[in-house]
């Protein structure tokens, strides 16, 4: 597919009679960049280039053949795009400068509408791709990683967007950066099928970024998982959040998120599957929560959220909360701890299930009491409390628990 696209682009470039030049040395590259007019294409042959900071201020296309290396020598930003309709394909950008004054990036773009960044490899850059004030950027199939030991403060984000819209971010791999994908004031964008792993802070982090879609991404083993804030109208579908393990790590942290949809995601083996506070009107359908410490930490500041047809399996705690008022609707989920019966065989348990246990309330209040987990005393307390709720929120109850797990995904997924 990408070859077809590349070919078409080349074809178009030729058809419109824009100049096309091929370079093999740093000098030639700099000369051609200077000479180029709007719409030109420069093909960079494989090799090691040290061009300094390349500033692209007219619509043009840079194509690497055989993955040419552009080296920032740990001093500078490599490519700065200040024009619309720029395309960057097939380059390997390594070693940008690191600065606490400037956000040096391997590719930085400002007001670069319809920027296309494809098939690049970005190694050990401070920021990977840094885009601001841009409409319709496409970031597709790039590999961005940082393999040197770095501290959170001395490294930037993999893909960083600020005040942009209609971006398309697909099939990228990001690892070793601060945040894998960072959005601030980014709207109407799609993030699809990315693999975000082992970043120092968050796999995905966004604020004030409305109406975006996150589909089929994998967020695995990031320092603190995924944290999203102050946003409404997002869709998160078929993502996998797994192995986000640590004392302040979350599969997904939702803070002030509203009117959104979280469906068919998998939360596997996280310390906290979903932690949510101040969030409203979110639909959580058909998600899998499996092997998490806390599957769902629903703070009392959340309201009108709907949890339906989710599977809760092998979590230490299914649901915890910090208050007794219940403003959310949890109905028709599968809980592997449910012990009720189904007399009329309609697949729905006849008695309700209370997913919050007394012990989980105690642990919320006194973390040190986690040491008594699985002790007989705790078992007795939980049992007594389940039947005669006094401390746990009485109304936090799934009145239609499913008897069998929903068949949501096959194991191979």
């Amino acid at each position: 597919m990408k070859w077809v696209v590349t070919f078409c682009l080349l074809f178009l470039a030729v058809m419109t009679l824009h100049a096309k030049s091929t370079v093999q040395t740093t000098d030639a590259l700099l000369r051609e960049l200077k000479k180029a007019k709007a719409g030109d294409t420069i093909i960079i042959k494989s090799g090691h280039y040290k061009p300094g900071n390349i500033i692209i201020d007219k619509p043009m296309t840079l194509i690497g053949e055989g993955l040419p290396v552009l080296d920032g020598e740990n001093k500078i930003e490599i490519i700065t795009v200040l024009a619309k309709d720029v395309t960057i394909i097939g380059l390997k950008l390594i070693n940008t400068g690191v600065s606490s004054m400037n956000d040096f990036a391997a590719i930085k773009a400002n007001t670069a509408h319809r920027l296309k960044v494809r098939d690049n490899v970005l190694v050990n850059s401070f920021f990977g791709i840094h885009i601001s004030n841009t409409i319709g950027a496409e970031i597709i199939h790039n590999t961005i990683y940082h393999d040197q030991v770095a501290e959170e403060s001395s490294i930037g984000n993999g893909i960083h967007l600020w005040k942009s819209a209609q971006a398309k971010i697909e099939n990228n791999r990001v690892s070793g950066h601060r945040d894998g994908i960072y959005f601030e004031f980014v709207t109407s964008s799609a993030v699809k099928n990315n693999y975000i792993e082992k970043n120092l802070r968050y796999g995905l982090h966004f604020m004030f970024s409305h109406e975006n879609q996150y589909i089929e991404n994998k967020f695995i083993n990031n320092g603190a998982g995924v944290a999203v804030m102050y946003t409404h109208s997002i869709k998160m579908i078929k993502n996998i959040f797994s192995q986000n393990w640590g004392s302040s790590s979350y599969g997904m942290l939702l803070k002030d998120i509203s009117d959104s949809e979280v469906r068919e995601n998998q939360f596997l083996n996280n310390t906290v599957g979903i932690h949510m506070e101040g969030s409203s009107r979110i639909k959580f359908f058909k998600n899998i929560f499996q092997g998490n410490g806390y599957a769902l930490r629903l703070q009392a500041s959340c309201d009108n959220n709907d949890f339906k047809q989710n599977n809760f399996q092998q979590n230490t705690f299914d649901v915890t909360t910090n208050g007794v008022t219940v403003l959310n609707n949890i109905t028709g989920n599968y809980w592997d701890r449910y012990e009720g019966y189904d007399l009329n065989k309609d697949g729905v348990g006849d008695t309700g299930y209370r997913p919050v246990s007394l012990y989980s309330m105690i642990v919320e209040r006194v973390p040190a009491s986690i040491l008594l987990w699985r002790s007989f005393m705790v078992f007795l307390l939980d049992r007594a409390e389940k039947n005669f709720p006094a401390v746990i929120p009485e109304n936090l109850i799934d009145n239609k628990p499913s008897m069998k797990p929903y068949d949501l995904f096959k194991k191979s997924n």
Partner: protein, 255 residues
């Protein structure tokens, strides 16, 4: 000593109780393996059995056994044999037969269902718990010359370690929850062999329980060599001190 050990073992086996104990554990382990294909979950369920049934059986059986063989012990005392030898052969005889029953009871089904590697840690913890509660059984027996009273003391030990102690910890952490409690709870839990065994066990199989700062703290402590040596040493202390006290009383009391 070997001769006496032989008599004690013969006696224990003739009582058939250990056989039933073994059969019970085999049945429970087999059932758990049949109900659940995931060995990790089997181990967690087994943990509950080990933390409740094993101590109860060990401590009660030991106490009863001591009083049942009381006359035999008196007879031995008439011979030129050191009291220490008599006592230790009793201890080793009872403890080893119970330990063997436990090992075979959990081990054989585990091998049969192919989960042997997963149950290794639980076997280790179970052994320590067996030895500890046999020691406590002898301690209970040495505290009273009345059989019923001694069994009462034994049951009290069991309830205390299995239930009351955890309630006390819960109360303490709840009451003092404004203070940093990591080190106090660490100390408190090591003062109960069942708690210590449970925590060591959980850290080795299911860390998902231990979260947050406390979890990280304990994982760091028990996860490294110092922690392992510490927990092993504490478990050994729990085997040895009741035994030592019981031996002391046995040596110096009138029989």
């Amino acid at each position: 000593m070997t001769q006496m050990l032989k008599y004690v073992l013969q006696d224990v086996i003739r009582a058939r109780f250990v056989l039933f104990y073994w059969l019970f554990i085999v049945a429970v382990t087999t059932l758990l393996f049949q109900l659940d294909s995931d060995p990790a979950k089997v181990v967690v369920s087994l943990l509950n059995v080990i933390l409740l049934v094993v101590p109860l059986v060990c401590i009660v059986f030991t106490t009863i056994h001591f009083f049942n063989s009381y006359e035999f012990i008196l007879l031995l005392m008439a011979q030129p044999i050191a009291r220490k030898t008599v006592f230790l052969s009793q201890y080793i005889g009872v403890a080893s037969s119970l330990a063997l029953a436990f090992l075979a009871g959990v081990g054989l089904p585990a091998i049969a269902f192919g989960g042997a590697a997963k149950v290794l840690s639980i076997l280790g913890i179970g052994l320590f718990i067996t030895f500890t509660f046999v020691s406590l059984g002898f301690l209970a027996a040495s505290l009273s010359r009345d059989k019923a009273k001694a069994i009462g003391i034994a049951l009290l030990f069991w309830i205390y370690f299995a239930l009351i102690y955890d309630g006390l910890i819960l109360w303490v952490v709840y009451a003092f929850n404004d203070y940093p409690l990591e080190i106090p709870t660490l100390i408190l839990t090591s003062l109960n062999p069942l708690d210590l065994g449970r925590i060591v066990m959980l850290l080795s199989i299911d860390v998902s329980a231990l979260m947050g700062y406390t979890g990280a703290f304990f994982k760091e402590f028990f996860g490294n060599l110092t922690g392992e040596i510490f927990s092993l040493a504490m478990l050994s202390v729990w085997v040895l001190w009741p035994l030592w006290v019981a031996l002391h009383r046995f040596k110096h009391n009138d029989l």
